[in-house]
Structure formats: C-alpha cells, structure tokens
Symmetry: C2
Subunit: 347 residues, 2 copies
C-alpha cells in the first residue's frame, strides 16, 4: 500500500505545502521561497561562510533503515557541522530535492519534520531551494550560509608543531550504529510503516544508532573556539578521524601523532568492536559520520580552552600532538603505527 | 573505448584537479575550495541573493546530445538567470557533483571547461562545492550568491494594472533546438568522441540548438532594470513564458493578457513549428529553457526603459498588458484565448 506520491501531487502543490510550514516572518529574510532567488540580509560586520553537502540514496543512506525524518535531520546537520568547523554562525539555508515520481508525499513531510526541527533549534532560516524530479535516485542537496568574523575563521591550515590535538565528544559511535543497522536491516524493524527508529536493546548501542541517524553538529563549540581564539586549526569528522588528521597534516604541512589510549571511544561502540575481535581504536579512527570537531591548540592557550569547555556543551579530549614534518602516526604501547585510511568517495 | 574514470582517479585527486584550474587569488574569496566551508567577503552595502538549481541526467539533459561542456555552461547559466531576474549581481558559486563511478574524467574536465568559461565571463568566483558518488544518475547542483540593493530587489509581486509586459530576446528557440536534437539523436552526430556540437545545416535552426545548449543569462539586463528602477516585477523564462505569466499573475494578484502577434519568436523556431503545422505562438509560449527575462513596467517609466535598452545588450519587446483580476489570456485576431500550460516537474 502506498500513499499519495509527489508525481500525483505536482511540483507547485509540493512547493506550496513546504511554504505553508514556514513561519510567516523570519529574521533577516527579505525574499523567501517561491521567487527566482532568495534575498537575505548581509551579516553585520562579518564575512559570509558557505557550504554545501549532498545526501544520495544508496551512497549516503539506505531507505531500508534511515527514517525520512532522520534523513532531513542529517541533511542539515552535516552542513551545520561544516560551518561549526569554520567557527561560523549558521544563518540561512537552501534545500534542494531530487525526487523519483513515486516518492510518497508523507515521506517528504517527514524529511521536512527532521530538517525544520534542526533549523529551528539552530535558528537557521529556510530561504529557498529547488525541487526536481529524478529518475531513480532520491537526493537531497543543502547549502547553508553563515557569518564569521574575518580574523576568527578556523581553517585546516593553522596547526603548528608543539600544538596539541583535541577532539570533541566520542568516537566510533556512528560507524557501530551503522553496522548494527545494516546487520538488522532485514529483521523487520518496520520503519516504513511506523516511522519509528530501529532500536537495539542494549542502551550503549542504542546511543550509537541514534548518533548515526541524528548527528549533533558542534555549532556552539565551533563558535566558542573562534570567539576565544582557542584553536589554531579545526575540521569536522565527517569522513572520520583518520581522514581529518590527513587533511589537517596536508593543509598545515605538519605531522600529527595520535595517542591510541587517549581516544574517547563511545562505550557501546567499544563493546561492539571488541565483540567482533576488532581493535576498537583503529575502527574508531577510521569510521566516519561522527561529526565531532578535531582541532589543534597551543599549550599556552589552555586557559582559553577552559573557557571554551564551559561554553561548548561537549566533552573535549586531548588525543595527540602536532610535530614537524608530514607524518601521520598513532602511538600505542610505546610503538608508532601508520594511521588507518578514512572514508573517501570512489575508493 | 573508455578513458580514465572518476572511480579510478579517486575523490581527492579529482578535487585537486579542479583546484589546479582555479586562479590562485580570486576577488573577495577569503577561504576557497578544500576547507570545510568557503568564506567570501560580504557585499558592501548590499544584501545577499541566493539561488540554487540542479541538472539531473534523464530529466534536464540527455548525455546523447548534450556535450559535457554545454552541461557545465548550462549548470551555471541557469542560476545566473535566476539572479538576473532579481536584479542581483552574481559574486560567487558552489559546484556540487553526483557522479557515477564510471564517469570519465575527461567528461568532468569538459563540464568544468563550460562552467569556468561562464564563471570567467560573468566574474563569478568558484568558492567551493562537493563531490559525491551517485549510483546511476549524474547530477550537478549549483548555488550562486549575489548582491542586491535592498530597495532595488526585483520580485514577481510588483506587477500593477496598467503596467506593460515586456520580454527580452527571442522566444521558442530552445524548445525548437531541443526537438531537433531529440529527432536527430540517433543520426550519429558523434558528440561522445569529438565533443563537437550537433549542427543542423539551416542557420536559423543552428541558432536554436545553440540557444538550447548554451542559454545566455540576462545578467546585464537584470542589473540595468534594477539600477534604473524600470521594472515593477521580473521573472526568468526557465519554464517558459506561459509559466512565467502564471507565476507573476499569482504573486502579484493581477491579470496578464499577452498579444500573440507581438511575441518575438526566433525565425528558425517559427519555421520549425510551422513546418510541423503547429501554431508558432502557442509553442513559443509553452516552451521552456529560453532563459529570457519577462518583466512588467509602468508606461510612465518608458524613458527609464530606454536607458535600460541601451545598457541591457538585448532586444526588448512589449508583448502584453497587466489588468485587474486574475486572468491569464492571449489575444489574437481580436479574440482572447487561454494560455497554454508551461513545463512543470511531476505533471
């Protein structure tokens, strides 16, 4: 049994349906959805940060175990994570769909539920977007505009030998959650009908699934790092810690050496990896989708970092050091190993 | 025979390849491609216009007869057309790809040729973007940021009874060109190997094919209309004149009555339609992809319009009148008919 599809509803009605869900007035929005382009007020005294990210069916998500509400959450959250990593404040966004004709309208509604809930929580105005049909594959492409003070931009380039490497939150949860979802895909958790989350019994693993489905962008932390000038470089963990280390090393032309024992691995993820006989620290470094921030900070900035810790609303852990050169290494039991590879498209 | 594919090249190498083609310094670009987000300078004294549009394989283009270079041209041009319709000046853009693994690298290069040529011509800085794999369907999603003075924004809402309806350039060329391409798809014009355009012998029809493949965004005209306050409303003809009339009527709550005899139908398109026994004015009104601007202007603004005509670099034709009510009509031989429908997704 299928409900009303977007093909039956029509493009204009779908746009009207989305517009009807938006607040009549939004701060800074001069021309909203429905004209040729959106117009938003320029940020006073700050520059413009811009980022875009796509979620493609079969690549970034599997409809069999990602509820549409979570897909909407994720589509905006991953972009907010990118702005957080620049120290930017999110302001407004564009939402573009590519929808197969047979997509059910209730699924688009649920996607909007998730998207608009994140938008409301982070005070991001939906300014416009685009709806296109798509032959087979559903995709969502989101652009977020934010503001950042010119002298407080956090890039990947600023890491210096002697800096410490820090990470927010916990690692490995998203990849453990994704693996549980894949293994239990066919066990009939029935998200198509109930729109309820698939739920493992074990609370630690349940937290992992939740982290995979609804990543938490570290917007407050990014803003606090920028406003206190507490970080020399910053990057988000979209493609995993190992990839973030590699990107930072290349952009800053430095070595990054991690301490395996220091990694804040989520308890549920650690149990999941160890039950499979896999080294938890390797899996946590390689796994993507955690959307935590990794940043570097000079030891002399420790008091600034204490202030950030109070504002950022998330645990911060020192996980390594920046050294001269271009090495990527992880130390454990006094030995140095190479980093495991991170996620990449086309690999 | 196929060349190197993006799957073989890898995501990071592909990004590096794109970055290598960009100028080392671009005006207003503080952080360019390769970090978590781009940072661009805010426009001095103006607000921010934002628009996004996708091109999806099998929906917006057919690889069999759209060379990749034209696809890149089109992906940026259609967004510039949206900004032109707001009276905004384009500044920077984001380019996102969804690429099947088997996409050839030379095709991505050609797409960039077309994209970057339009970017250079309109002084638009490529600030960032995203590369994702995609299961089967190639898609390109582009966002363009521009600037517009708050009091000069052109929307669809400002048409008033007594205004005249104007259109730039010529109508019907793109749809005639597309039809020729579809009819000759299998005749071996061999664009896959030569990357040359399919070319009809007849010059008028050749111009139609060129207009379909490489639409010309009316950026100068949009800026001139805004700076001279010569238009009460403005919209671009992405989905055809009939759709633009409908959208303007709904947004402004007025009637629009077109004069069929006044429509500036491209000569090659007129011959193409008439050879098929089809009414040229109906086809020209219904056909999309022309990317001209339709605007309304009060008769008392005629001297301002003369100044715009000198600046805009394109022919302007008066094609109808705005009246009270909510009618959409076309007059011919003293009779009034209903408008033909325009293009819509999911119809």
């Amino acid at each position: 049994m299928t409900g009303l599809t977007v093909g039956e509803l029509g493009e204009q009605t779908l746009i009207a349906r989305i517009k009807a869900r938006l607040p009549p007035q939004a701060p800074g929005l001069l021309v909203g959805p429905g004209d040729d382009a959106a117009v938003v007020e320029r940020p006073a005294g700050e520059e413009i940060a811009l980022t875009t990210d796509s979620l493609v069916e079969g690549v970034h998500f599997d409809r069999a175990f990602v509820p549409f509400e979570a897909l909407g959450h994720r589509a905006l959250a991953v972009n907010l994570s990118d702005l957080a990593a620049m120290g930017a404040r999110p302001l407004s966004c564009l939402l573009s769909f590519g929808l197969p004709e047979g997509t059910e309208v209730r699924d688009v509604d649920r996607l909007l539920d998730g998207f608009l809930a994140v938008a409301a929580r982070f005070k991001v105005v939906l300014a416009g977007g685009n709806i296109s049909s798509s032959p087979d594959v559903l995709f969502v492409d989101v652009t977020v505009l934010g503001s950042v003070s010119r002298r407080r931009i956090l890039t990947r380039r600023g890491a210096r030998p002697g800096d410490e490497v820090w990470v927010s939150g916990e690692l490995g949860a998203a990849v453990a959650g994704l693996e549980w979802l894949k293994e239990n895909r066919d066990s009939g958790f029935g998200i198509r009908d109930s729109n309820e989350d698939p739920r493992p019994d074990e609370p630690g693993l349940r937290a992992c699934v939740e982290r995979y489905l609804r990543p938490e962008p570290r917007v407050r932390l990014g803003l606090a790092l920028a406003s206190h000038r507490a970080a020399s470089s910053c990057i988000d963990l979209s493609d995993g810690l190992a990839d973030a280390v590699r990107q930072t090393s290349e952009a800053s032309r430095v070595s990054l050496v991690l301490d395996a024992e220091a990694l804040p691995i989520a308890a549920g993820a650690r149990r999941w990896f160890e039950a499979r006989g896999e080294p938890a620290s390797d899996r946590a470094m390689a796994g993507g989708d955690d959307y935590e921030l990794m940043f570097t900070s000079a030891p002399k900035c420790r008091r600034r970092l204490d202030a950030v810790r109070r504002l950022g609303g998330v645990r911060l852990t020192r996980i390594g050091a920046v050294e001269r050169g271009g090495r990527l290494a992880v130390r454990r039991n006094g030995r140095e190993d190479e980093l495991p590879p991170g996620f990449a498209h086309f690999r």
